[in-house]
Symmetry: C2
Subunit: 334 residues, 2 copies
């Protein structure tokens, strides 16, 4: 079914308020879930809502906790997330990074002891909507072997870069370091299909497009083989050192994927240039790639997040798609 | 042959001084070439020296130009590289970023109108040797199609992350966004071999390990397919917007790969933690990946730049390998 965006958001908000969220934080948290579904990231929108409420009910996530500053030095701030709700924690952190960037040109917030931020792209959008370049990354539980290894040791540590455009059509790269998420691998398996490109190793150690084999071997592939493996490592090192909190190994020792370390960097491009100049430079690059000779007849070229904007427009007009059973489950929480 | 490291450096220095480098800048520039060969990055060391001198002699690189600050706001500085020698320009920029990080916790320098920095890892090492986390990236000429396109439109824009360790064994990721460099592709072709993993598309549009086919199609592959394509794009956008200088498209319109845009970010990890704390956290992550079950019997796990340190130790003891003809060419420049 398709639910009106505002109805979806209000429903989330009502439920969150019953879990101890204040009016303001309930609005923010509800927006995160509703916006993710609105933009087509259903797995981190309505589909994830009931699980998050369950974590709150079980005490895994403290719905009342808010991040506090533990270190502040110039354009650097460290925050303790007190195991609160990941998306509102992340939002506070990126907002602070943007404030710092306004004051210093660049700002960084290292947020430890937080929880899953759901869709990392949200915080790239958040920075870009404030006219800032936003860079953020999170560590995760170990879900891939390091290059040359067999057992899961590194995270798929998502990396996000948001670039502002004053027309609101921001460029937002939201990229996990794994070639495919385990969600995508499972979905492909359930459809009885093969992945379009190799996504991991089979149990014999050969590259494979077969989701069944990858689930068996638990050897999902980092992007660019050894390169993504190295990138995952340095992201974890930066997140851990700057937060002085949990690394991938520590998180993997918890029962659930909690207590994450995240870094938020904002850069104010107007310190050296005008908004118009930034717009012109970004549009010039977009126009250039769109002028590519298509690889196959009819292939369209998209910049990162372009399709999300199209989905957003459709979902705002025609309602946000929500799986019937998911909506039923959500309504039961009211 | 193997040349003593100091002899190599002194030879470079003597030649650079004849091209208008001051004593100090000649020392710095000579170190870059010598260190790159010393660490095993021969393609960006001795092997590249004669070509760089040729560029200076032809006026493509101005050996006397030094970067100047054009914008300074808090922790953000923009520099104009005046088409000077790339590695000394980059060194000045990363040094300034580290100074800013000391003052503000984080610092950023956007350097436009510069030239090829040779080995990007140098500046990750530079920051880490000062106890800083260093992040830097450069745009390049267009050398890969964007995802979905056929003709070269995006750069392999190298991304570097350096993590400091007080024992000097820094972790330095130095990663171009292409799966393989064209240098590696050509070398593999000359050896009559195949790439170990697909490195591009053949002329029919299928993924291939065949270097001959990739040279024909000019369709080298970004890491992680669409992911690396997006990463390359946002790196170019950031570099272009923050420097207000050339994007990949503009650079591609020059006859040579010149006038690049680069960004240098430094973060001081001691603002929130001690050096000992950083060391312990980084070592813990390294120890964990080293405890992996090897993918194949005897496979060793390395962290980024670990093997460079081993090569360095060997080359300092036994001399730096230089191809005979290359050394002859270099000596002719004296």
């Amino acid at each position: 079914m398709r639910i009106n965006y505002n109805e979806l958001k209000e429903t989330f908000k009502k439920i969150l308020k019953t879990r101890g969220f204040t009016e303001e934080r309930a609005t923010e948290a509800a927006s995160v879930f509703a916006d993710n579904s609105r933009d087509g990231i259903y797995s981190h929108g309505a589909n994830r809502f009931c699980r998050m409420i369950k974590y709150m009910d079980e005490g895994t996530i403290d719905p009342k906790a808010e991040p506090t500053e533990t270190v502040s030095f110039g354009a650097f701030v460290r925050m303790d997330g007190h195991r609160g709700f990941g998306p509102t924690n992340a939002k506070v952190a990126m907002d602070k990074a943007c404030d710092l960037a306004k004051e210093y040109g660049i700002g960084i917030v290292a947020l430890g002891n937080t929880n899953h931020w759901l869709r990392g792209g949200s915080y790239g959008w958040q920075a870009a909507n404030r006219g800032m370049i936003g860079i953020c990354f999170s560590n995760t539980t170990a879900n891939m072997p390091v290059w040359g290894g067999k057992d899961p040791k590194i995270g798929n540590n998502p990396l996000i870069v948001g670039i502002p455009r004053s027309n609101g059509k921001n460029v937002v790269l939201d990229m996990a370091i794994s070639q495919y998420s385990y969600g995508k691998i499972e979905q492909t398996k359930l459809l009885g299909e093969q992945l379009p490109y190799p996504g991991g190793f089979d149990t014999k150690g050969n590259l494979t497009c077969d989701p069944v084999e990858i689930e068996k071997s638990q050897r999902a592939l980092p992007i660019g083989y050894w390169k993504g493996s190295g990138l995952s490592l340095v992201l974890d090192m930066m997140a851990t050192v700057l937060t002085a909190a949990n690394d991938v190994q520590a998180i993997s020792n918890f029962d659930l994927e909690i207590g994450l370390s995240q870094v938020f960097i904002a850069i104010d491009p107007t310190k050296g240039s005008s908004v118009e100049d930034t717009d012109a430079r970004v549009s010039r690059i977009i126009d250039d790639i769109k002028s590519s000779i298509p690889a196959n007849e009819g292939t369209k070229i998209y910049y990162p997040a372009e399709r999300e904007v199209k989905t957003r427009e459709d979902n705002l007009t025609n309602g946000v798609p929500v799986v019937d059973e998911v909506w039923e489950q959500i309504l039961k929480l009211l």
